[in-house]
């Protein structure tokens, strides 16, 4: 048996953790699995920040989970940008949770990679070299879509959350 790993998302002021989310839809409300057509981002504005974690719920007999990588494939609509705290160099440690905001995130300041990073870009225990040897969580992945006034269409893209597992 291998490890079981899910993606969790935190929302609200008091932090409600939704386990094993089905998608990472971004929009104009702070909610997991939102319907983008119902909560579109007005051109020139931002999505609400997403706070997500990679959650190892069971090691399944394996000894280690590490090398966490996060990236997005498929282009965004218009000239929108996708910002994150994930980075392969200069990682500033584990992000503290706050109620997600739709103003420009000061914590998500890096461009979301659009291909697999060469090395880990999301930490465990505040460090990119961190690992899990028992069930537990990654650091928060924080990300946000930022649009321009001329952006009139959204896009369907794919988020990738990758981990390595050592038996």
């Amino acid at each position: 048996m291998a490890a079981t790993v899910e993606i969790d998302e935190s929302n609200g002021a008091g932090e409600t953790v939704s386990h094993n989310i089905a998608n990472s839809n971004m929009g104009s409300t702070d909610a997991k699995e939102l319907v983008a057509a119902t909560y579109p981002i007005t051109p020139g504005n931002n999505s609400y920040e997403k706070f997500q974690k990679i959650h190892v719920t069971n090691m399944g007999g394996s000894s280690k989970i590490d090398n966490l990588k996060v990236w997005r494939t498929t282009a965004l609509g218009g000239s929108a940008t996708h910002k994150t705290n994930a980075r392969i160099a200069g990682y500033v440690g584990a992000e503290a949770y706050h109620q997600p905001i739709a103003t420009t995130s000061s914590d998500a300041a890096q461009a979301m990679p659009t291909s697999e990073p060469a090395s880990a870009n999301l930490g465990i225990g505040g460090a990119l070299a961190g690992s899990l040897i028992a069930a537990g969580y990654s650091d928060y992945l924080l990300h946000q879509i930022q649009t321009d006034a001329g952006d009139v269409a959204g896009a369907s893209t794919t988020m990738h959350y990758q981990y390595d597992e050592t038996a």
Binding site: A2, T4, V17, H19, K64
Partner: protein, 61 residues
């Protein structure tokens, strides 16, 4: 902090309660089992796990 099982929508006071519930959207499987993931968000769980193990073993070598 409260915990919600996204597939079935049930809310729990603690993570332990979430992990111990039998999810109706996964034929009663509990989180932390492959059956839970296969029945909800990861039908390809076996393939995902196999690839993760392969990467881990390659880096260990």
């Amino acid at each position: 902090m409260s915990h919600i099982c996204s597939p079935c929508g049930k809310e729990f006071a603690t993570e332990a309660e979430y992990l111990n519930h039998e999810c109706e959207k996964a034929n009663g499987a509990k989180p932390g089992t492959p059956e839970f993931l296969k029945g909800t968000t990861q039908p390809a769980h076996d393939t995902i796990a196999e690839a993760a193990l392969k990467r881990g073993e390659e880096r260990k070598a």
